[in-house]
Symmetry: D2
C-alpha cells in the first residue's frame, strides 16, 4: 500500500504524467515551524537538468494545501502537492506494446490488468521521489529536534559510480550539480555516448541519533531503513556498517569495542545499530542503485502486438545515471524512518 | 513492534531463558492441513549441536495450542509455542556489567531502562528465530498453494562462508548437518581454535512465484523481504539479483530482455522483481550474516561496575558461525512475506 | 491518525478554511469505472443551503488528481480534492478566547498546543465529511460489485428528528432537499427561531451484503462500522438491529430463527450480523446525532482572555440540524467499511 | 484480524475448548511492576458460577510466559495464557447441524468453510474475554500512571437488567457476585425458570483521564472505544454521554458549559469527549448487551442434516445473563484503548 510509518505516516500519490503528485504527512508535531523556503535546497538536489540527468525540467514548487497555519504545522495532516508540467506523454505509448527490459512496464500492466497509467511509468515513475523528498524535509526537522550531539544530521552522497570507487581525497557527491571526480565523468560521458546508462552506490550517515531508537525484532532500525530504501526505484542492495564485508570477517575484527559509558565504540562495523537498536554511534549504510532501465541503446524485448521478440530503442528523455539524483532521496527516506522512530 | 504483516500476521514473543517462546499466526486460511510432523525437517535444519554451532540442545517440539482442529487450520489465530529447556542463566549475568561488543546487551538495557531480561540475550536472542522457523513452515504451505510452475518452492543455502566463495561444483549448504566444502571447514576450525567466529552469505531462491505480487512503492517485494531479513539477528546486508554488482554495470548489461508473453527473461539481474512487483522469474536475493558477536577470544569493552575499559572473554556456549543455521530462517522469512502478499 | 482501513485505505486531509481538503484512496481495484458525474448525487445530498442547514455555499466540485486514467481507476492511489471557497474566517477568531461549549475548540487547542487552525473548526470541521462522501461514492461502487441479491445497496435516512419519531407512512428523509414531515418541520422552525439547534437519528440499511464479511473479535463488522460512524462529527450513539432495546428482551424474543440453508432469518434483531460476521440478511444500524454545537442562543463558557465565565452568542453561519445532511455521510462510511471487508 | 492497537497492541488467540487461550501484549512499558496477584480481583469479577451464570468452572489461573522478569515488564511482548479445563465438547456437536439462532454457529462455518472449531463456539466463544480481562489488568496499570486527578480509574457496572432500570439508591452492579436489586433478581429468576435469558446495560466511567487523548477523525476516542466494545460478544449498542437521548435535545440543553480554564464543564452530556478528544471530564459511556443467545427454551432453526426447519432446545451450560459478567470486560476494553492512546 501507499502509506508508510506508524506514528509519522507518509502517504504518497500521483503518476508521472497525471495532474498532480503529492504526499500526506500524518503525525507532524503541532508547532513545527515550516515555510516554502525550507524545501528549496533538497528539491534542488533532486532536480534534473544537469549533465547525466533527464532534460525534463519541472518547476517543482511545493504547494502546502493543509496542515500549516501561520508558519507552523497544525497537528492535522500536512499535505504537499506538486503539479506535473513538462510532460510528453506521446513518448511513452510505445511501451504498452514493447515493455522496457528492467522497467515496471510489464509488471504494472499485469498487476493492474492493463489499467495502469502507462504515461511516463505512471505510479512507478521515479517522479514519486519528489514528494518523498519534500516529506524528507519535514522529517529532517523532526529528527533535528531529537539529535543529541553536535555532529548531527542526515547526510548522503555517492561513493561509487560506474563501477569506480570515490577517488582518494574526494568528498561524496551530494547531487547532480556537484562537480564529478574525473573517472566518474569519463564513465558517464562514455555511457551517454553509447546511449547507455550507469549505476552507483550512495552512502548515508546519520550523525548521532538518539540512543535506543528501533524496535526489537520486526521493526529493527535496519528493517525499517531497508524497507524505505528498497521503495526507491532502482535500488538493488542495502548494507549497514561493514555490510557484505562483515560476512568475511571474524568476530574479533567486526565487533566494535565499547569505550565508555555512553556506548561509544572505537570502530563502527555495526553501522551504529546493535540488535536493531541504535547505539548512539553514527548510523551508516550504503544503497546500491542499478543503471537506469530506460536507454536509447537497442535492446531485445517482447513485442505484444507482433507476438515476437523485437528490438527496442527507447525514445524520450532519461537520466543516464539515476544515482546522481539519489543522495537527497536516500536522506529523505532515512529521515522519514528516524522521525517515525522518534515519535513512537 | 512484534507483529509483522498485513493479511498474514506473525506475532512473536518470548525470551531466550524465559518460560516459553512462540508465535501467533493470524490469517492462516481455514482448511490448511497441518500436523506436527510438518515441522520436523525445517526445525532440524535450524537445530544446534553440529560442529560450529552451540552445544545448547533443545528438544524444540512445537506445541500448537490454538487454531488447529482435526488436522486443519480453523481460520482463527494459530499459536505455536516452545518450551525453553536447556538454559544456563548463570552464564550471562556477567554481561550486565560488561556488555558484549557487537551484541544487544548495551542497547537493550538502554532501550528498556535496565528492565530487559538479560539471560541469554532475552528477547534479542537468536532463539526467537525458532518460532519464526515454525511460522515459515505454515507460510510455505500457503505459498505452495499459489505457485504456478513446476520448479517451485523457497530454497536457501550458504554460498559464502568465512570469506570463501562456494567452490565450483558444490551445492549451497542448507544447514549445519550438511557436509561443508573443504575451505569452509578449514575456516571454521581455524576460527574455533582461536575462540573466534566467522560469517557467511545465504542465497535464497523462490522458484516461480505468482506474477504480480508486491505493491507499488512502500510495500515493494524487495522492501518487505528486506524488512523481514533484517529482523534476523546478525544480518548486515541484503541484495536482489545482481545486487551491489548492478551498480557497476551498464543498463544494457543489467536489464533482462523479455523473451515471451509470460514475462520470462533471458537473464535475471532483477532477481525476479521489476518496480517492486514480481515478474514471474525466480526471486533471488542474498543475505550477509556477520560473524557471531559472542566469542571466547578476549575483547575490550566497557565495565560499568568498574567504570573503566576492561577485557571480556565470553564464557558460555555459542555458535561459531550463525550463518550455518541461517538458511532455513531466511526461507521462513521469505515464505512469511510471500504468504502475506499472496493473501492480500 | 488520519488513515482508516486495511486493504481499502482512506486518508483524509484538510481544514475547513485551508486551501484544499481531500482524500487519498488506496486499494481501489484497477479497472473500476469512474467519472466526475458519479459524485453529483451524493455530494448534492450533503450540500448545505436548504432550510435548516448553513447558508455557506460551496461548489464542491471534485477534482481527481491521481489514480484515474481514461475513465478507470489505475490501481494507484486515487486522490480527490476540493477547493475551499466561501470562507469567512473572521467569524471564528472569537472562539480562540471563548471556546464553544460542545465543540472541539478547547480540546483541539489543548491537543495541538494552540497551533491548531482555528478557522471554521480547522481539521475538526464537519467539512471533512465532504471528502468522506466522495470516498463513499467510490466505495459504493466496490460494494456493488460484491452484492449477491437484488435488494442491494447502502441506503440511509433520518428516522427521528428533534425528538420526534418518523410519522407512520413517511419514508426516511435522505437529505436536506427532501420534504420534511410536519412535526419535524415544526421542531426545526421552532429551534431556528430560538437560535438553537436540534438532533436526529439516522438509520442505515445495507441490503444483502455478501455472507461472511467481518473478522472475528477485534474487527467485527460492528466494530469497524461503529469505528467509522463515531468518526463523523456529532455522533453520540450507534446501535445494531434491536440495539439498546435488545437489552430489555429475552433471548427467545431477540434471537432470529434461521429459516433456510442460506441463513435467512424470519426476524432481524441481530441487524444482519452474528459473532461479528455478516449472515446475509440486511445489515441495519442506527446512528444518533446530537444537536449542532454552534448556536446563536447565548451560552456560558470560559473566557480565556478575561479569565472568567462569560456569555457567548455564536456569530457565523451554522446548520440548525446537522443530522439533515448526515444520511449520505453515514452511507459513505458504511460503504468504506464494507469495501474494506470485501477487498480483504 | 486478531490484533488491536497502535502502540499498545493486544493479540488474542484461542478457542473455547482448545488447549489454551491467551493474549500477547506488545508495548507494555519496561519496568511496569506486575505480579500474579494483580489479576485476582478482575478475573474473579468475570468468573462464572454465581446465580445466572454458567456453572462451567475454570481455575483461570494466568500464566505469564514471556515479558516479565523479576516482577517487572521487560519491554518485550508480555504473554499471558490460560489452560482450558472444564470442557464438555459433546454438548456442542449438535450445533453443526442445527446452528443456534442468534449465535455465530452459522456465520463461523460460512466464514471458515466449515473448518471452524465448533466446540463451545470455538474462537467466537465469550471465553476469549478471559485473556482480554487479563490484558485489561495490565492496561489499567498503564492508565493509572497517566491519571491526573484524584477521582481516578476505570469503573463499570450494570445500570439496567432485564429491561429494569437500576432502582433509585442502588449502586451499579459490578459483577455476578454482587447482590442484585430485587426487580433484577426477579427478572433473572423468571427467565431461568423459563429456560430463557435476559440482557442488560453496562455503564462505564473513566474518572479524569488526561486531557487531549484521542486523535482527530478516524481514531476519535469514541471510535476506538466503540471498536473495542463491539468486539465483546453480545454487544448491540454503544453510546457516549447523553447518547441516543442527545438526538432529542436542543443544542442549548446538550452543550456542556465550560466553567474554568481546565476545561471542566458544569454538565457532561458529551461524555468527556469533544471532537474525539478527551476534555478532562469523566469519560462516560453505556454498552447494551443482548440476552444470551443459547437458551434451553425451544427455538426454530434450520436443520442442515434434515434440510428443514426444526426445533432446537439447546443442551449444555449457559449464562442466563451474560451482562452480569460484562462490567469487568467493559473496563478491560476501555483500559486497553486508553493505554494505547496514552502510549502514542
Amino acid at each position: 500500500m501507499n502509506t508508510f510509518g506508524r506514528n509519522f505516516r507518509v502517504t504518497v500519490f500521483g503518476e508521472s504524467h497525471g495532474e498532480e503528485i503529492g504526499v500526506v504527512l500524518d503525525g507532524v508535531p503541532a508547532g513545527l515551524p515550516l515555510c516554502p523556503g525550507d524545501f528549496t535546497e533538497d528539491l534542488n538536489r533532486r532536480r534534473s537538468g544537469a549533465r547525466g540527468t533527464t532534460p525534463r525540467r519541472e518547476a517543482d514548487t511545493p504547494r502546502i494545501v493543509s496542515g500549516l497555519y501561520e508558519g507552523h504545522a497544525t497537528g492535522a495532516p500536512l499535505t504537499i502537492v506538486f503539479a506535473n508540467g513538462d510532460t510528453r506523454s506521446s513518448d511513452y505509448s510505445l511501451f504498452r506494446d514493447m515493455p522496457r527490459p528492467g522497467h515496471a512496464d510489464y509488471t504494472a500492466a499485469i498487476k493492474w490488468d492493463g489499467f495502469n497509467d502507462p504515461r511516463g511509468g505512471g505510479h512507478f515513475s521515479a517522479r514519486l521521489t519528489l514528494p518523498v523528498t519534500a516529506a524528507g524535509v519535514v522529517a529532517k526537522k523532526i529528527v533535528a529536534t531529537a539529535i543529541e550531539k553536535e555532529e548531527a544530521g542526515v547526510r548522503a552522497g555517492l561513493v561509487e559510480m560506474g563501477g569506480q570507487a570515490l577517488p582518494e581525497g574526494c568528498a561524496p557527491v551530494a547531487g547532480p550539480e556537484d562537480e564529478l571526480p574525473e573517472p566518474w565523468k569519463s564513465a558517464l560521458e562514455s555511457a551517454m555516448k553509447d546511449g547507455d546508462s550507469i549505476g552507483g552506490v550512495v552512502e548515508c550517515r546519520v550523525g548521532s541519533p538518539l540512543i535506543g531508537l528501533g524496535e526489537p525484532f520486526w521493526d529493527s532500525t535496519e528493517s525499517l531503513l531497508s524497507h524505505a530504501m528498497f521503495a526507491i526505484p532502482g535500488v538493488r542492495g542495502v548494507e549497514f556498517g561493514d555490510g557484505f564485508r562483515a560476512a568475511a570477517m571474524r568476530g574479533s575484527e567486526h565487533n566494535d569495542p565499547i569505550i565508555n559509558a555512553d556506548g561509544d565504540t572505537s570502530s563502527n562495523g555495526a553501522g551504529g545499530i546493535n540488535g536493531g537498536i541504535t547505539n548512539g554511534n553514527p548510523v551508516v549504510f550504503r544503497v546500491a542503485f542499478k543503471p537506469t532501465a530506460t536507454i536509447h541503446k537497442a535492446q531485445q524485448t517482447w513485442n505484444f502486438a507482433k507476438e515476437a521478440v523485437d528490438t527496442l530503442s527507447a525514445p524520450g528523455r532519461h537520466d543516464s545515471c539515476i544515482a546522481l539524483r539519489a543522495p537527497v532521496i536516500v536522506e529523505a527516506m532515512a529521515a522519514i524512518v528516524l522521525a517515525d522512530l522518534i515519535l513512537v
